[in-house]
């Protein structure tokens, strides 16, 4: 399995509503097998479908044993995760 030296960064868009789920999944898929650092600083809204994509991505990366992180979460993103009770993602969220 190839392991590029540097982690890929993915900037999440502002509005992760149901229409964003498809594109987000494709984007994440294209970055598969690379260590991933997801920037959630812009997120204003997180819907259930995008949450699924993120959770699935986290599980997939975990299965691939490749680093996965979500950094600089916006307050809205944090709030949404706790609203959804998305404990599975919490450990990967890094403040800062």
């Amino acid at each position: 399995m190839t392991e590029p030296a540097s982690a890929s960064r993915l900037q999440l868009i502002e509005n992760l509503d149901l229409k964003a789920a498809g594109p987000l999944r494709s984007e994440l898929l294209s970055l598969r097998h690379t260590p991933l650092d997801i920037d959630a600083s812009n997120v204003q809204r997180l819907g259930g479908l995008c949450l699924q994509v993120l959770m699935s991505a986290q599980a997939t990366w975990a299965a691939d044993t490749i680093p996965f992180a979500i950094s600089s979460p916006s307050p809205a993103f944090q709030e949404a995760l706790s609203l959804f009770g998305a404990e599975d993602l919490q450990p990967f969220v890094q403040q800062g």
Binding site: N15, R32, G48, V53, M55, F84, G85
Partner: protein, 754 residues
């Protein structure tokens, strides 16, 4: 029209339906029908309006509907007894709600003071005033002001923080029994459809959070790897532990708009004793319950109803989730109400029944026009065939008979599309009565009968004004003030009766009151003062009563707010006549008056008798004709130089020469050479119309003469006959009246000469 606008239009149409449901429900409650079905129907109506209005951010409407709904909820929960007083306030609130809907639709605002007054009145009803303190002090939770995410898509910018500022603290729904906190476990498994319909789990969770304290845990067990994941499918499910003082129905309400799009169970962690114990017997027969639900829902919007219906049925229905405090059994429920645990397909079942479509009226009218042409064409074809000498027993003639039968059936069916119950007109009247009663300080009860009577839509549309006016008149002029009534030995409350019925191919509408009746001496005096009649005219009681229909007559000595709007009974009469109808009045002093309207069921076709007058073909409406006869010389008496009467079974009836009235001839027809049609005009006055000959009876399609030419005295409309010629349709009443007027004029001339 952009899609949102179109949805809005539909919303307002549905609002109208809900408003009429609301009104009829409240009126039923006023009559003492306070069973849960009625109360729920009323609640549902207000709730649906609020839900839709919330989605369109029609804030004043939402605010008012919310206050209304809160009060109704108390009635529903049995906290507030729907006594007469309460229902009266609600009826007025329904009027204001209707105003709000109209203001939202047509622009404009509802008078704030009025809205506010009713809102306060409603709040005052909400149990024992707001004495229970707001326990949590947590205003952010604002439990009474939930926002229902009906069609709010996730990206429309309205967002979750969209809340309504309360008018006053009193609006906040207070639980009188105090903050009985309970724990509920909600299992939520969205289906793909939930997201497909632009609903959002996040919003549901947020709604729940508003109800109380929530702990959410997510179950990702079904979540596939990213490669296998369908981005628009729903994989996650949630378990929410909610601690709240709100009722189960409040929790269910959160999920009202995702009906059937998620599997949902709501279980109380501790079953309170107040809930009825659930037997297990009924579990075996869930289909009866389904049938019940479907039946009850047949004419109700499926979505909001489902939850409520399930709730109503809860005590009777099997409720596995409530069967003791056992762990919940997840039941996939279409209706969000897991409590009922019934009818997975209730919503679908309801949708399958009584499907209706909204059709542009233009299309129906065009169809009716075309069918009219078809009828004419068929008649022409039949005539051609007859003229060509084909024997009646031939295949062609028999085929034509079948065609005629079929055409007639098509015509009836098409007409039935346009037929509507008069309910839509009648339903506006209670409000009018309330308003007029309030303005005049009279006590009025409106009784309506025969609301289901169907009549053509055009007739219905043009009925509202005359009926409105007659009811106003009945209250303003007919009914007495309460003290006067009591002095006269009547109850203080007057009754206005509005009824509709089908009678011999026409619709008969009666407006009657039990008031003082027509004040004949006064009517007579006014008519004399206004120069409408001669001082020494010898008039029968009936004639005097009919004076009020004369142009320029108005009995109210002081022009009141109510009746004095420049519209007299003469206008009513004219508009009824414009519909091909008749109006008659009967009045008994001290006992009240009755106005009777008789109208054709449709304005499109007419059964007529085809007659000839001086080589012209005319059609006389069959409904007006009582009989036809050949006058004998000894039965005809001349009175005056050119007026005749005919003795028919010992009564003398004026004999009217149609040809002379219409100006076809100047020398009168010899009565013995023609045929007399005995007709009954308005008010039952009879006359015999002289025509040359009768050709036969036929159904004719009415073509407006006014629209194509202009109004002609004595002629109601025109039609096209089988041979393609135009025939005029007689306006029987007008012909009779024209003869009378002529006679009156010649009498006057004689009087002047003498």
């Amino acid at each position: 029209m952009d899609p949102l606008e179109a949805i809005k239009v539909t919303f307002f149409q549905e609002c109208e339906e809900q408003l009429s449901e609301l009104e009829s429900g409240l009126l039923a409650m006023e009559q003492g029908e306070t069973d849960s079905e009625t109360v729920n129907a009323v609640f549902r109506a207000v709730h649906s309006i609020k839900g839709g209005a919330g989605a369109f951010s029609l804030e004043p409407l939402v605010r008012f509907a919310h206050v209304f709904e809160t009060t109704l909820d108390d009635v529903r929960a049995g906290k507030l007894a729907p006594d007469n007083n309460v229902v009266k306030v609600m009826l007025r609130a329904a009027d204001v709600l209707a105003d709000h809907v109209r203001a939202a639709r047509d622009g404009g605002v509802v008078e704030e003071a009025r809205s506010q007054e009713l809102a306060s009145a409603l709040e005052a009803l909400n149990g024992e005033a707001p004495l229970a303190p707001i326990a949590s002090e947590d205003f952010d939770d604002m439990p009474g002001l939930e926002f229902t995410p009906l069609t709010v898509s996730d990206d429309d910018g309205i967002g979750d923080d969209f809340g309504f500022t309360p008018l006053a603290a009193g609006i906040i729904e207070l639980e009188p029994e105090g903050p009985a906190l309970r724990r509920w476990t909600v299992h939520l498994r969205p289906k793909n459809a939930l997201y497909a319909k632009a609903n959002e789990t996040g919003l549901l969770l947020r709604e729940l959070k508003r109800l109380g304290d929530i702990q959410v845990s997510i179950d990702p067990a079904d979540l596939p790897g990213l490669a296998e994941l369908e981005p628009e499918h729903a994989y996650l499910s949630w378990t929410i532990v909610l601690t709240t003082d709100r009722s189960q129905s409040d929790i269910q309400e959160v999920f009202e708009f995702v009906d059937g799009d998620c599997d949902l169970t709501i279980t109380a962690d501790d079953v309170p004793s107040s809930l009825p114990a659930m037997g297990e017997a009924s579990i075996d027969e869930p289909f009866d319950v389904m049938a019940l639900i479907q039946q009850a829902q047949a004419d109700v919007q499926a979505a909001p109803a489902a939850a409520i219906m399930a709730e109503i049925l809860a005590p009777a229905a099997p409720a596995p989730v409530f069967a003791a405090s056992a762990p919940s059994i997840p039941v996939p429920v279409a209706a969000t109400a897991a409590a009922a645990g019934v009818a997975p397909d209730a919503a679908h079942g309801a949708a399958a029944q009584q499907a209706t479509i909204r059709v542009d009226l233009d299309r129906v009218d065009r169809l009716i026009d075309l069918v009219g042409e078809l009828v004419i064409n068929q008649a022409m074809l039949a005539q051609r065939v007859t003229e060509s000498g084909v024997p009646r027993s031939s295949n062609i003639a028999m085929g034509l008979d079948d065609l005629e039968h079929l055409t007639r059936e098509i015509q009836d069916s098409v007409m039935a599309i346009r037929a509507q119950p008069v309910k839509s007109v009648f339903q506006r009247m209670p409000r009018l009565v309330r308003e007029v009663a309030a303005m005049t300080g009279k006590q009025v009860r409106l009784v309506t009968e025969g609301e289901g009577t169907e009549v053509d839509k055009t007739v219905i549309e043009r009925l509202t004004d005359p009926i409105t006016h007659m009811i106003r008149n009945a209250i303003d002029h007919g009914l007495e003030r309460p003290e006067v009534r009591v002095a006269a030995g009547k109850g203080p409350e007057g009754t206005v009766r509005l009824s509709a019925a089908h009678r011999s191919g026409r619709i008969v509408i009666e407006v009657s009151d039990d008031g003082k009746g027509i004040d004949r001496p006064r009517v007579r005096q006014i008519a004399i003062d206004k120069g409408l009649i001669e001082v020494d005219s010898n008039l029968s009681d009936e004639d005097v009563d009919n004076l009020i229909f004369m142009p320029g007559f108005s009995t109210a000595s002081s022009v009141s707010d109510i009746s004095g709007r420049g519209v007299g009974m003469d206008v009513v009469k004219r508009s009824i006549q414009g519909l091909g109808g008749r109006i008659a009045i009967t009045s008994r002093p001290g006992q009240g008056s009755t106005f009777t309207l008789s109208l054709p069921l449709t304005l499109a076709v007419l059964d007529g008798m085809v007659v000839s007058v001086c080589d012209h073909t005319l059609v006389a409406p069959l409904t007006a004709i009582i009989e036809s006869l050949q006058p004998k010389a000894q039965d005809v008496r001349a009175i005056g130089p050119d007026a005749y009467v005919i003795a028919i079974r010992d009564t003398y009836t004026p004999l009217i020469d149609v040809g002379a009235v219409l100006g076809y001839r100047t020398t009168p027809l010899d009565p013995t050479k023609g045929v007399a049609l005995l007709v009954e005009g308005e008010g039952g006055a009879r006359a015999a119309l002289m025509v040359d000959a009768i050709q036969g009876q036929r159904q004719v399609v009415i073509k407006s003469l006014e629209a194509n030419y202009r109004q002609v005295e004595g002629i109601a409309a025109a039609t096209i006959l089988g041979d393609g010629r135009v025939a005029l349709i007689l306006d029987v009443d007008n012909v009779v009246a024209a003869r009378r007027r002529e006679k009156a004029r010649s009498d006057a001339k004689l009087a002047a000469a003498g």
